[in-house]
Amino acid sequence: MNPESGRISIWFFIGALVLVYGVLVLGAGIYELFSPSPTTVVLSELHAGIWWGALMIVLGAIPFFKSFPRAKE
């Protein structure tokens, strides 16, 4: 929460969306690992969805929890 304006910080919204996206991308990557789709992409053996999704979870969680709106003490 921005103390001057009383608004929720923009970084909270960004963190929330990136965090949720990270979960979805990671989930899709894990699903692909066990149940590969018939049309594979180039370098699919890198499993980019898994590590990119995990990275997004970390990158999203930091601003999400740091900017989480808390009630005024």
């Binding site: 304006s5 608004r7 923009i10 990136v18 991308v25 969805g49």
Partner: protein, 574 residues
């Protein structure tokens, strides 16, 4: 409506031919994006009650938010797709539009020009012209800006809809209306505050969605050296990977341009004109909470601008190295059914991105288009309300009346943009004319604003006549080349010059004419008293000293670091 039903609604408007097929998880990612940006708009409505809130975001933005939104507003439109295509077509030369064509100008805005914009408390660039030169210069600048901005916005919408049709097979009307109405809703609700919040969000998404292509692409190509070796092998007669050493002659590079055109035309006039006077981008910096934040914001923007070639130019170069098919120009693509240059980014997406990542990549493209459109619409609403409606139509209304006008004007701007999009759909050549029209005003405006800020002798009459002369001469040169293409040899100083060179040299000449006329008229007309120039002109403005701040808190220190990195990058990729 549940997610399955929404997904079905998207599927229903898809057509059979497309580059990419989305999965369920991709559709969820896209829908979440729309929900989030609309949610931000509804949330921020309660914080935009006054004109300052709606048009200037309350002037409370930190340097980071203002700086990222400054850059995101420019990342929109066809920036991502267009420059990736240009990189495939012209090679690394396209990087000049990100480095010499942006960095010096952004730093100049932050260090030299921002104090005058900020201290004068202007709400817009035409507003500054009013304070410095008077009503005539403001009216000329405001009307041309408002018309051109809304036309450009329409072209952007149409371009986005076209991309969505080619890439995803979406119905063109569906894309035009859904994207425009979404942008219209969140900007009308929360004004510039909402536009800026969403631009920062969109900036992050563009990076997250775009960064993976060059990473995987470089792995496939065997790193930078592997990529350049592959390009040299596939295109032995072309120089695609050198930034400067082919610019000694118009004939030696695929762009048909000389280094003087890049340095003086692009690096000085066109770039400085766009980054320091185009209100679409300057408006974001004016929302900073204090002068130091306003000076730092363009420097933060410049730091990230230097990195944008990684997600835009590098995918184009990687396309040259790894795509099995050779891409061709739009006309040839239509005639032969081959893929065009403009499809290089979607082709790379389709090559590397599986389910989930594909949704992220498409969201990044949409975010880019929407941030650009929101920039256009919010700038249009401000200039219309403050510089046209309040200045020329209704001068003494309540603040709440102007806020209400701003909201309606946002909707009007969106509808006019949609109208332009349909006009372009019927008459594609309009696109070229409107883009040329927009360029007519940028270079001369830079001359007018620069002289206004740095030379106190520049008079109100000279400001107006200089701007008009520069603009008319630019239109004249453009018309000359349209009527007789051989005129390009005179304007761009070589019979070997290509179309890309024309814009650079035309900008340079029109700037020189604007400056020349302004100086001449100034010596024959009455200047403003010095007391009226305080806060507007160098030498009579009290700019707060930063001497008491530690070095790391001074904007100039960071600007020096950025310029050093800028030179190093140019030397490395020489």
């Amino acid at each position: 409506m549940n997610l399955h039903a929404l997904y079905s609604a998207i599927i229903l408007v898809q057509q059979p031919s497309r580059l990419i097929y989305l999965h369920f998880v991709d559709a969820v990612i896209i829908l979440l994006y729309f929900a989030m940006i609309l949610g931000i708009g509804f949330y921020l409505k309660r914080f935009t009650k006054t004109g300052d809130d709606f048009f200037m975001a309350g002037r409370q933005m930190t340097a980071w938010v203002a700086g990222l939104s400054f850059l995101a507003a420019n990342l929109g439109s066809l920036e991502l797709m267009g420059w990736a295509a240009a990189a495939y077509q012209y090679g690394i030369l396209a990087t000049h539009w990100y480095w010499i064509g942006a960095i010096p100008a952004m730093l100049f805005l932050g260090i030299v020009m921002m104090p005058f914009y900020y201290i004068s408390k202007t709400h817009s660039v035409p507003g500054y012209l009013k304070l410095r030169y008077g009503e005539h210069a403001r009216a000329l600048s405001a009307i041309t800006f408002a018309v051109m901005t809304v036309l450009m916005s329409g072209i952007n919408i149409f371009s986005m809809a076209l991309v969505m049709k080619v890439v995803l097979g979406w119905n063109i009307n569906f894309s035009i209306w859904v994207s425009s109405i979404t942008v219209g809703i969140y900007v009308a609700l929360g004004g510039l505050l909402s536009a800026i919040f969403n631009e920062v969000l969109q900036f992050v998404l563009i990076w997250l969605g775009g960064m993976l292509i060059p990473i995987i692409g470089l792995i496939e190509a065997g790193g930078w050296s592997g990529m350049t070796a592959r390009i040299a092998q596939r295109f032995p007669d072309q120089h695609y990977t050198h930034l400067w050493n082919t610019l000694g002659s118009f004939k030696d590079n695929p762009m048909g341009i000389h280094w003087t055109g890049i340095v003086l035309g692009l690096g000085f006039v066109v770039s400085f004109g766009y980054w320091t006077t185009d209100f679409l981008v300057v408006q974001r910096v004016l929302t900073a909470k204090d002068l130091r934040a306003a000076k730092t914001a363009p420097i933060i923007g410049a730091s990230f601008k230097m990195l944008v070639p990684f997600i835009v130019i590098l995918p184009g170069l990687l396309g040259l190295a790894v795509l099995p098919q050779h891409l061709v120009g739009e006309t040839q693509a239509l005639a032969t059914g081959a893929h065009s240059y403009n499809e290089v980014l979607p082709l790379m997406l389709a090559r590397y991105f599986g389910p989930g990542l594909l949704g992220l990549g498409i969201t990044a493209l949409m975010a880019g288009f929407m941030s650009g459109m929101a920039g256009n619409v919010s700038a249009f609403a401000t200039v219309w309300t403050y510089d046209i409606y309040r200045a020329l139509i209704r001068k003494d209304a309540e603040d709440s009346h102007y806020v209400s006008m701003g909201r309606w004007c946002t909707i009007l701007g969106v509808l006019l943009s949609i109208g332009t999009a349909y006009l372009v759909m019927q008459f594609a050549s309009i696109m070229d004319y409107v883009q040329a029209l927009f360029s007519f005003f940028i270079a001369p405006l830079f001359g007018t604003v620069l002289l206004g800020m740095l030379w106190k002798r520049a008079t109100p009459a000279a400001g107006f006549w200089g701007l008009l002369a520069g603009t008319l001469s630019s239109i004249g040169m453009w018309a000359w080349v349209q009527l007789d293409h051989r005129a390009l040899a005179y304007i761009a100083l070589s019979p070997n010059a290509k179309d890309m060179a024309e814009n650079m040299y035309r900008g340079l000449w029109s700037w020189l004419i604007c400056v020349g006329v302004t100086v001449m008229v100034s010596y024959f007309t009455q200047p403003k008293p010095v007391s009226e120039l305080a806060g507007l002109v160098y030498g009579v403005t009290d700019i707060p000293s930063e001497g008491h701040l530690p070095l790391y808190k001074r904007p100039i220190s960071w600007a020096c670091i950025v310029i050093v990195v800028f030179f190093i990058l140019n030397i490395v990729f020489w």
